[in-house]
């Protein structure tokens, strides 16, 4: 089959690879119909995720058709169209039983900090991902959700990662009605966090980014106010002033470890690797949110550590909540939001590429060219 192959930092190509095979009786093999490029794939591309091996295939946001079934799979049939959570979860361990499927302890031998994830290095289990023509899907009766008849794959595609992640980001902000919310990052996860904040009854939602076309998109798509932090002298003081001098009730970090905003932090973290990336936005969240407020972290950070103002957080009495998204528990509820028109998931797709053009797609997405918001590959 043809598949994306990591060749080193900033380099991917598409090459022939052996087809995946059934390795466990609960596996299925999917023919991939859509595979999105996630913002977190860029951390892999940039060589920031430990144990990313040459030849690895990325891709954890995908839909597909069941092509081959393991002996113990009973809920799926050949030809079923499914959307798959990015977490590989057994459904029966301590964590899965509590619906914390992102913490499954039966799918990742290499680390205790995360469960198995498709195409996200050996730090998350060493599974090749779905930016390919075919992919192996373990625990197939637990994770994948059938796409309803009459629904396009692209309408369901983001149920596997970024839509539940954005929703969970807003949910962890503990919005009870009327709160003021700042979402840092106007990328796809941030967009869904903004819409989700409205769904939960937020009173005011402001998006912060430095890429003006993305802020313009957020204003249209999510009906939010926008702030370009490159146009203000001090974003922390500016945002506090915007919210009565006190700061917002909730700050959501939808950016993660490659944040812009501080050249020093980028040099120390991304360049010299003295910490794991640049947590500039997380630092802003802690500084900006009002005392007693909530900081919700869905932007991806990695090991081993980061320098953060924990003293500020402690003295301000903040609640910090964070997690990789436990996708499976969100899928049915968010599917209803899509079907009833409350969330236009497909509306954030701006670019589509055949699999053979995946390197160009990565380049465009990583460099935010051509007003790109979300790129989707079409292997079939």
């Amino acid at each position: 089959m043809r598949a994306l192959s990591y060749q080193g930092p900033f380099r991917v190509r598409v090459e022939d690879k052996p087809d995946p095979r059934l390795e466990h009786p609960q596996d299925v093999i999917l023919k991939v119909t859509r595979a999105a490029i996630c913002g977190s794939d860029l951390h892999l591309l940039h060589g920031l995720v430990p144990d990313t091996r040459v030849g690895h295939t990325f891709g954890h946001e995908f839909t597909g058709e069941v092509e081959e079934l393991g002996a113990e799979v009973t809920q799926l049939r050949k030809g079923d169209r499914v959307v798959v959570p990015f977490n590989i979860s057994c459904g029966s361990c301590f964590y899965c039983q509590r619906h914390l499927t992102a913490l499954c302890e039966n799918s990742n031998p290499e680390s205790d900090i995360a469960c198995g994830v498709y195409g996200y290095s050996h730090t998350t289990g060493g599974y090749d991902g779905a930016q390919a023509q075919y992919v192996r899907v373990p625990f197939a009766d637990v994770g994948p959700m059938k796409i309803p008849e009459g629904m396009e794959d692209e309408e369901a595609l983001f149920l596997g990662d970024i839509l539940p992640t954005g929703y969970m980001g807003a949910e962890m902000g503990e919005i009870k009605g009327g709160e003021t919310v700042v979402v840092f990052g106007a990328g796809p996860v941030g967009l869904f966090a903004m819409r989700s904040a409205w769904l939960m009854g937020a009173g005011r939602v402001v998006a912060v980014d430095c890429v003006q076309y993305r802020l313009d998109f957020a204003a249209r798509y999510a009906k939010v106010e926008t702030v370009n932090f490159r146009e203000v002298e001090d974003i922390v003081l500016y945002l506090k002033e915007l919210f009565d001098g006190r700061g917002p009730d909730v700050c959501i970090d939808a950016v993660g470890m490659e944040a812009e905003g501080s050249k020093t932090r980028r040099v120390l973290g991304l360049g010299l690797k003295l910490e794991a990336g640049a947590p500039t936005v997380l630092t802003w969240c802690i500084d900006v949110v009002r005392k007693g407020g909530n900081v919700s972290i869905v932007g991806v950070y990695g090991p081993p550590w980061n320098v953060l103002p924990i003293g500020t957080a402690m003295n301000k009495g903040l609640t910090l909540r964070m997690n990789q998204c436990n996708v499976r528990r969100y899928m049915p509820h968010l599917l209803e939001h899509i079907r009833d028109g409350r969330i236009d998931a497909k509306g954030i797709i701006t670019h589509r590429f055949p699999l053979e053009q995946a390197p160009e797609a990565y380049h465009l997405f990583a460099n935010k060219q051509d007003d790109c918001v979300k790129c989707v590959l079409t292997p079939h």
């Binding site: 080193g8 039966n106 939960m200 009173g203 550590w305 409350r342």
Partner: protein, 130 residues
């Protein structure tokens, strides 16, 4: 304050409608879960972190470790993943992996080219300078 910013605003105002509330549900297996889980068999080398007694029942087998980078990964996995040296060791192995692949990529033509040039230089010195 915007009262109707998007269609369906406040549709999930009720905490009971939110899938992630409460964070932990009363434990029971998820639909489709099968227990016990049979253990995957593989002859591919897979590292496990120090805190695990054995491999989990399901694991990935992509890109088995090899060469010098594989040796460095083996050393890194001897440290628990709460220590920075585990992660920095893996990052070093990643870089070595890239160079191993680049060297392997040029060997098919580089070795014969170097050999040919060496032979030509020897031949020139031996015969042309007499």
């Amino acid at each position: 304050m915007q009262t109707h910013p998007i269609p369906g605003a406040a549709a999930d105002l009720d905490l009971a409608s939110r899938p992630g509330v409460p964070m932990e549900r009363a434990p029971q297996p998820l639909p489709g879960a099968r227990v016990p889980i049979r253990h995957q068999r593989s002859d591919v080398r897979v590292f496990k972190h120090v805190g695990r007694a054995s491999l989990p029942p399901v694991f990935g087998t992509a890109q088995p470790p090899h060469g010098l980078s594989g040796l460095l990964r083996k050393v890194a996995y001897a440290y628990p993943d709460h220590l920075a040296r585990h992660w920095m060791g893996l990052l070093l192995a990643d870089r070595v992996d890239v160079w191993e692949h680049r060297v392997r990529g040029v060997l098919p033509w580089a070795l014969p080219a170097v050999g040919g040039l060496t032979l030509a230089r020897w031949g020139w010195r031996r015969f042309a300078t007499r």
